[in-house]
Amino acid sequence: MTAVYRSQDAAVAAPLVEARDLKQHYTLKGGLFGEDRTLKAVDGVSFTLGRGETLAVVGESGCGKSTLARMLTLIEAPTSGDLLFEGRPAQDAMRDDPKATRGFVQMIFQNPYGSLNPRQNVASILAEPLVINTRMSGDERRRRVREMLAKVGLRPEHDVRYPHMFSGGQRQRIAVARALMLEPRVVIADEPVSALDISVQAQVINLLLDLQDEFGLAYVFISHDLSVVRHLARRLMVMYLGRVVEEGEGGVVFEDPAHPYTRALMAATPAVDPSARKERATVRGELPSPLNPPPGCPFHRRCRYARPDCKDRVPELRTVRGRKVACHYAENLEGEGAGTLRVAATA
């Protein structure tokens, strides 16, 4: 395949995508008498993504996953921090050569019922990226659309149909096809299967894995469903209130979660096998408002292991047992409940 995006030779050694301390703060106007308030949707996220890798971003709703996706696809510029595509600042790349940069990163959305224009047929939905970013002839575009439909497991002659004539799973295949039309290197998938039935979820995930092999894609796979993530992610990043609380190899983190929040998330995943069911390490309370985050460790109010000084010191990401974790007491969480969790994770 021919990638539309070409990097300078000097930058080849750089990772495909590198994020350094990305922040997205929204200012909410306080009205006539109130003060302006800052909503820290994403507050200092760093990661690297190599060729063909999958990075899973996990967290409950409101933790900043989707904002991260919007920054990675360059719909929103980050408030601060650097986003590098092959070592080159992404905003600069977008300004200098928007067409090539769009061909570098594309996105799959959560809801296939909202992400396809109901008034366009499949052919024009899929051709739109080509019309805007390439100089292909109409025949060439039509050929590419049909090829891509076949690749995602749909019938090429269905390109004259409208989105409402397809089922949810088929629509998501169309959305995947659209994301791949420009032959991107990186695909941001924002909860791509959470709106689908379980059986269809598996099909779409397998499709994503096949396409990854075929095109050498790197995925940023945003999800709240750990059972899906376990299936396809080599690396895992857990977010809480706009911050990364744990990041590492998928195997390491699943086997032995070091952050109390990660443990709670794992425990909340339902298990089909009754012997694998475990004592629930439930999280108390609600996700705090990002407008008014708790002082110190953002998780301390809901953490079953919280100690008095957790509300005073903000934990930094540090390496513990082969992964990065933001918890003051990640080494010695052992004690009540930890043993059962360990057993459950290996089961």
Binding site: P98, Q106, M107, G114, L116, N117, P118, Q120, V160, R178
Partner: protein
């Protein structure tokens, strides 16, 4: 051999199925035709269009031909009437049927031009307001509010008073009073469409503002606009007739229905047909278009679809 042929047949059948998705227009007609009133309205509108187009062939006389010897002749079925003038004659001896047939031309033209003008200006303003936000949006919408705050006929009268009486100025005046409806509708539906993922997907694909407005968002805002346009068509006919009646619209001897009413005012007590018939023509036209518009709304509104 036989199995092979069966397989070929199967492929043929499948491609046939694949190539025949129910087209949106056909689906629309299916829902529209369930509403009998709407179909009747459509039939009357089609009849009016035919009358207007073929007026010179259908009308027995020219609209301004005067027959001095048969002034205020009653309709054919009344005592003293003659079938040479089926709907009677007016105060200067013109055939009312011919004038009504020619009048359909004016009414349809007025409706069409007014709707085209106000729809295009209103849609552009609404899209700009929805996309620009900020002070542009505030300005556009407040101006629209001011126009809406003045009763539409009064507003139209003021505009005609400034521009001078006449059919063209009357149409411009009526069009201006209708712009706010279209602007508001367009802005509201564009803003709700803008939050949807397919718009974000187009942005990621690199669609510029104009492309987003015209190709991505506008087609999804069309159903309410089509309905509003149809219903405004009838009020435009009505308003133009009212302006004509007040002497501010089409000027005599134009056979415009409102102007005909105005000319016949003094004969209300003596010759009922001179006043009643143009009034009836307006009534039937407006009623038919409204029925059609209602049917169209039901057919286009997905919440009312039963399939």
């Amino acid at each position: 051999m036989g199995a092979e042929r069966a397989a070929v047949q199967e492929v043929q059948i499948e491609t046939e199925v694949a190539k025949a998705p129910p087209s949106p227009a056909r689906e629309l007609w299916h829902h529209f035709s369930e509403n009998k009133g709407a179909v009747a309205g459509l039939a009357v509108v089609v009849l009016l269009v035919l009358l207007a187009v073929f007026a010179p062939l259908i009308a027995p006389y020219a609209p301004s031909a005067q027959f001095r010897e048969v002034i205020l002749n009653p309709p054919g079925w009344q005592a003293g009437g003659s079938w040479a003038f089926p709907l009677g004659t007016d105060a200067v001896g013109r055939d009312i049927l011919s004038r009504l047939i020619y009048g359909a031309r004016y009414s349809l033209m007025i409706g069409g031009i007014v709707i085209t003008l106000s729809l295009s200006v209103g849609v552009i303003l609404g899209l700009v307001a929805a996309f620009a936000r900020g002070w542009v949006e505030v300005m556009v919408m407040r101006v629209m509010d001011v126009i809406l705050a003045v009763p539409s006929l009064l507003m139209a009268l003021v505009i005609v008073a400034i521009l001078g009486p006449g059919l063209v100025n009357a149409m411009i005046a009526v069009a201006i009073t209708y712009i706010p409806h279209f602007t508001r509708l367009t802005r509201a539906s564009a803003m709700s469409e803008l939050t949807k993922d397919y718009v974000t997907a187009s942005k990621i694909a690199g669609a510029g503002r104009v492309r987003l407005m015209v190709k991505t968002v506008l087609p999804n805002c069309m159903p309410p606009l089509i309905v509003q346009a149809t219903l405004s068509f009838s009020t435009a006919v009505l308003d133009a007739a009212a302006l004509g009646f007040l002497g501010m619209g089409a000027q005599p001897p134009t056979p415009e229905w409102g102007t005909m009413l105005a000319e016949a005012r003094e004969f209300i007590l003596r010759a009922w047909w001179v006043v009643t018939l143009p009034g009836l023509a307006i009534l039937v036209t407006v009623l038919a278009i409204n029925l059609m518009g209602d049917g169209l709304r039901d057919a286009l509104d997905p919440r009312l679809k039963r399939s």
